[in-house]
């Protein structure tokens, strides 16, 4: 605070909506939402699959899932960004590389980096959810004649999904905010755009404030939606629930 007060800084909030900066911010928001949504779908698919694998008795799937989780969650996301952008395309055939370069390879790399990284984290959330379902549920399902696969699909996972909504919300918000790292591989998302505005106008505080409020707003919307989902999906009597506990 004293630092800021010591500057004779002239605030000029209008840089946030005058052309072309306002349009840049909007484009940035759209890109952030696109990356986050696609990466979330990838993360949910990987997390669901490997999370379920980790709870299975077979050593094969369990080992594979453990390897995936430990490998991808224990390396910084920034490194994964460079890995998927500069590393992986090098081993692809030249035509595939060329195609990627013409069709926004940086966007694809960012989606994969975010999706695979958060997939590993989500797998642990899913595992925790499945393991918190009492074993009697599995036994009961099997005794009705369901196979293990069916028991997972029809009983364990549906219950687990309801239990993991709060940590899933957490992970989703992290994913959204982590998408800002995509700027390092030249994806023009919100943070990139705020830096761009700053570079053009030298109005850094305004640009960073705008970025902060945008992430805050987006995250609040996601949190509100997830909270609704949680209430909608709740199975009456499944868990102890007090009024308003979902907040």
């Amino acid at each position: 605070m004293t630092l800021l007060l010591a500057l004779q800084y002239q605030f000029e909030w209008s840089v946030l909506w005058t052309a072309p900066y306002g349009r840049w911010l909007l484009q940035g928001i759209v890109t952030t939402l696109e990356i986050s949504a696609l990466a979330w779908l990838l993360a949910a698919a990987l997390g669901g699959l490997f999370g379920a694998f980790r709870t299975m008795s077979g050593l094969g799937p369990r080992g594979l899932a453990a390897a995936y989780v430990e490998f991808f969650r224990n390396v910084p996301l920034l490194v994964w960004m460079f890995f998927w952008y500069f590393g992986v395309p090098q081993v692809l055939p030249a035509t595939a590389q060329d195609w990627l370069n013409r069709h926004g390879g940086e966007f694809v790399a960012a989606v994969v980096a975010l999706g695979v990284y958060h997939g590993a984290r989500l797998a642990e959330v899913v595992r925790a959810g499945i393991q918190s379902v009492p074993p009697t549920q599995l036994e009961a399902a099997l005794s009705t004649g369901l196979t293990v696969g069916q028991a997972y699909r029809r009983v364990l996972v549906p219950i687990a999904v309801r239990l993991i909504v709060p940590p899933l919300t957490n992970e989703s918000l992290n994913l959204l905010k982590n998408s800002s790292l995509a700027l390092t591989i030249s994806v023009t998302e919100v943070t990139f755009m705020t830096r761009q505005i700053e570079a053009y106008t030298a109005k850094g505080f305004e640009a960073i404030t705008a970025g902060t409020l945008i992430y805050l707003g987006l995250c609040l919307v996601v949190a509100a939606v997830m909270s609704r989902v949680e209430r909608r999906l709740a199975i009456p009597g499944l868990v102890v629930r007090t009024e308003g506990a979902e907040h």
Binding site: L5, Q97, G204
Partner: protein, 288 residues
Amino acid sequence: MRTHARKGSAAVLALSILLAGVVPAWAETTLEKVARTGSFVIGTRTGSPPFGFIDKNNQWGGFSVDLAKLVHAGIEKKLGKPVKFELKESTPTTRIPLLTSGAVDLIAGTMTITRARRESLDFSVVFFVTGAQFLVKKGSPIRGLRDIGGKRVGAQQGSTNEKVIREKHPQAQLVVFPDQPAAFTALAQGKIDAYTNDGVQLAGLKAKAPNPAEWDVVGEFYTYEPYGMAMRKNDSDFRNLVDFALMEAIEGGEYQKLYDKWFGPRGEVPYPLSESALIFLQMQVIPR
């Protein structure tokens, strides 16, 4: 509880004062700050040979850093006591906030003086003159500005040439990187067809590349890039000190010695000083 509430409202008040831009009109000058803290901090580059870069022996220095050392000597003389000389990394996106927030006292890197930047910063006299060109792989069809239509052209975020390509040459597909090494890797991998930056920086990249013969710096200068040192606005005593240090270096031959050290035939990046550039530099030296 009550004290908490009071603290909270004080914070809200302070924040709203801050946001409203009602800022007390006091601030210490750069010389006062350096005298108080005992150190003179410059912002420079780590990946822009030979202006500011980390060399093979992990030493951080360069032409701009050496010039800033002359300013440092001027400060010590003025204050009559030794002060520390510190380096901080600054990039095109961070250098303005680093300076305005007081984290550094002088930007001595590869910053082009522009009228827009002079709205929020003050600049020294020009210490280097260059212009934007393109770096391409040898044999590339791109030979200059007229060949970039539909091509993927890399640039550094916040640089003046990025702005020129974006605004005046939208026929090119602009890909913006936060730093030069990332852009160069992308160029080497064929992710971009050309990388644009100031000619002397491209010469530096080429000279530092594993195999310099693979690369070509092509095209006429399509921008004018006069480099200057940047400082906080409205601090004319400090600006005089910086300017006089540079003028004395040009006048006394120290500048040419440093130029030769970094850009001479055996320097880090061989780049002869053109006669017109030399005359321009000398004419900036005003009489004592």
